[in-house]
Amino acid sequence: MTRGERRKFWTGLAFVSPWVVGFLVFGLYPIVMAAYYSFCNYNVLQDAQFVGLINYQEMLEDDVLWKALYNTLFYAIFSVPLGLIVALLFAVLLNRPIFGRSIFRMLFYVPSIVPLVAIAMIWLWVFNGDVGLLNYALSLIGIDGPNWLADPAWTKPTLILSAIWMVGGAMVLFLAGLQDVPRSLYESAELDGAGAAKQFWHITVPMVSPVIYFNLIMGIIYSIQELVRPYIMLPDGGPDRSGLFFAVYLYQTAFRDLRMGYASAMAMLMFFIILLLTWAVTKLIQSRIYYEGA
């Protein structure tokens, strides 16, 4: 490095130093320690005791853990693609000028910024089996609605359905992506006689594929660690633990049972699953993402 370069290096580093310290203390240290604690007996009150692979062996035999993992993956597999599709469709509907467009956009977006705790309360009430608004609405079209939160078969669908309400964030990103698609593409497609469906598949989807990828990855990361709604709407996992989510079980293990070593082993598993899914999705669709100018 020349003298000028060296000076710039230290200046730059000085500016980012708050983050470097923060990353070491609140990012790197906890991850390393979580990995270490996963091999320990640890309850925060006493020092951690190294016990080897015992926590991991216990995980293999913990039926509750596998149930929680199954519930979470079930939720993710349905809610993530469903959320993506709904967000993209809304964005397409809103993309071209329409009367009251900014109001519509605002109304779609509102649910994704309000406190999740309050949202959970509202859903508890709307999905109430006896006097809930949803079952009343269903009864108007002749459907006898299930007891959503008390029936093991319906707890996960309840959480999936209520998740669709919060697609606003993804929708705004799609909308921004759609605004960048040149109108000329659609015009020439129209001249060639391509219908709306064809235009959607051959122009819209490829052009916003980077946004689809981004939303997909974020959706996976967040759905695997989903905690607030299941924790509040289904305390202790609901009937037959059918709505026990992985993050909720992890939280209970760590802070209710104070079994922090075991919870750390679960945390490692969660981290591994997120990395694996992110990697798999990237491998799977990477070649189909269209980057402009690339």
């Binding site: 983050w19 605002m106 977006y109 509102v110 309000v114 993050a247 922090m260 981290f271």
Partner: protein, 329 residues
């Protein structure tokens, strides 16, 4: 013209979907203004009401004492006066003398605040937390983002990839060691674990500000450098004033994050007096066992309302900010 038909269909579709989207919030408000018995009425009514009748030449609210079904059937009904000096006075009236009047129970909000016990404390804690984290985030993230965008140095882009990667670390993975760390520091049972880290920058906000700083022309900094300005002065005097819209977005995001956060307060706060509104709301719900829906919805509305107000006044800035956060990386 098919074009016009298409437009009309699209508009109707949008209105229907938006109606469905906004219904849960309207239902919350509706429930929050009803007396308890009306919250569980089937079929439900959207508007809260009371029964009124003219007794001794005066129009007063009356209590039907669970004989509402008789009103439809007609015939004499035993009622009690529900307000005024003759409260509790029994009367027998004919169904035709009764009329239904819209009567929102604004008092539910006062009751909900009372039932939550520490509501003023919760509100105070939430506001303190929001203020501190907004200050911390704006200060730290703008400085850090400057280092990642306006100064050229070796290793900068590699380190920035690490910043982006930290966004993918799930909180449940780090929460156990973080709890241990904050316990060692004596932070547990105070708001400190929730605001101290924000003074060291948060990845998402650093990213957002960096994106914005990159769009400011280089020449501005170069000219100042030739005039002998230090990097820090350039940051303070030139870049920061230009970045006001982006800084506002970051402040808004952080405010919402702190206001809405549940898991952090759940883990770190031990004393009810230290709870934030989000945690206080859940505590209230778990305590009362979920039967007083009118109070629960009123309390939820009170937690929601500041967010809604903030959003309505800043929505343009807001949505631009969200759009900015997408990609282009």
């Amino acid at each position: 013209m098919p074009r016009f038909g298409f437009q009309a269909t699209r508009l109707i579709l949008m209105i229907v979907i938006c109606g469905v989207f906004i219904t849960p919030l309207l239902w919350m408000v509706s429930t929050s203004l009803k007396p308890l018995d009306q919250t569980m009425q089937m079929p439900p009514r959207w508007l809260p009401y009371e029964w009124q009748a003219t007794i001794d030449g005066q129009l007063v609210a009356v209590d039907l004492k669970d004989s509402e079904a008789v009103v439809k059937a007609g015939g004499p009904i035993k009622v009690e006066v529900a307000e005024g000096p003759s409260k509790g006075e029994p009367h027998t009236l004919d169904a035709s003398q009764l009329q239904r009047k819209i009567a929102p129970q604004w008092g539910n909000y006062k009751e909900a605040v009372h039932e939550m016990r520490e509501f003023p404390r919760y509100l105070r804690n939430s506001l303190i937390l929001c203020t501190l984290t907004v200050i911390g985030t704006v200060l730290s993230c703008s400085i850090v983002a400057y280092g990642f965008s306006r100064v050229e140095w070796k290793g900068r882009n590699t380190l920035f990839l690490v910043v982006l990667a930290t966004m993918m670390i799930p909180f449940p993975v780090t929460m156990v060691p973080l709890y241990g760390l904050f316990r060692e520091l004596g932070f547990i049972g105070s708001l400190k674990p929730l605001w101290v880290p924000t003074f060291f920058g948060t990845a998402f906000n650093i990213f957002l500000l960096r994106q914005f700083f990159m769009t400011i022309p280089r020449d501005l900094s170069e000219a100042a450098r030739i005039d002998g300005c230090s990097e820090f002065m350039i940051f303070i005097k030139i870049i920061l004033p230009l970045a006001k819209p982006a800084v506002t977005v970051v402040a808004l995001f952080q405010f919402l994050y702190a206001w809405n956060d549940f898991l952090g307060p759940l883990i770190y706060l031990t004393d009810q007096k230290d709870f934030t509104l989000a945690l206080g709301l859940q505590f209230f719900q778990s305590q009362q066992g979920g039967t007083q829906w009118h109070y629960l919805m009123a309390a939820s509305a009170l937690v929601l309302l500041p967010v809604l107000l903030l959003f309505f006044f800043t929505q343009r800035t807001f949505i631009e900010g969200v759009s900015m956060s997408g990609l282009k990386a």
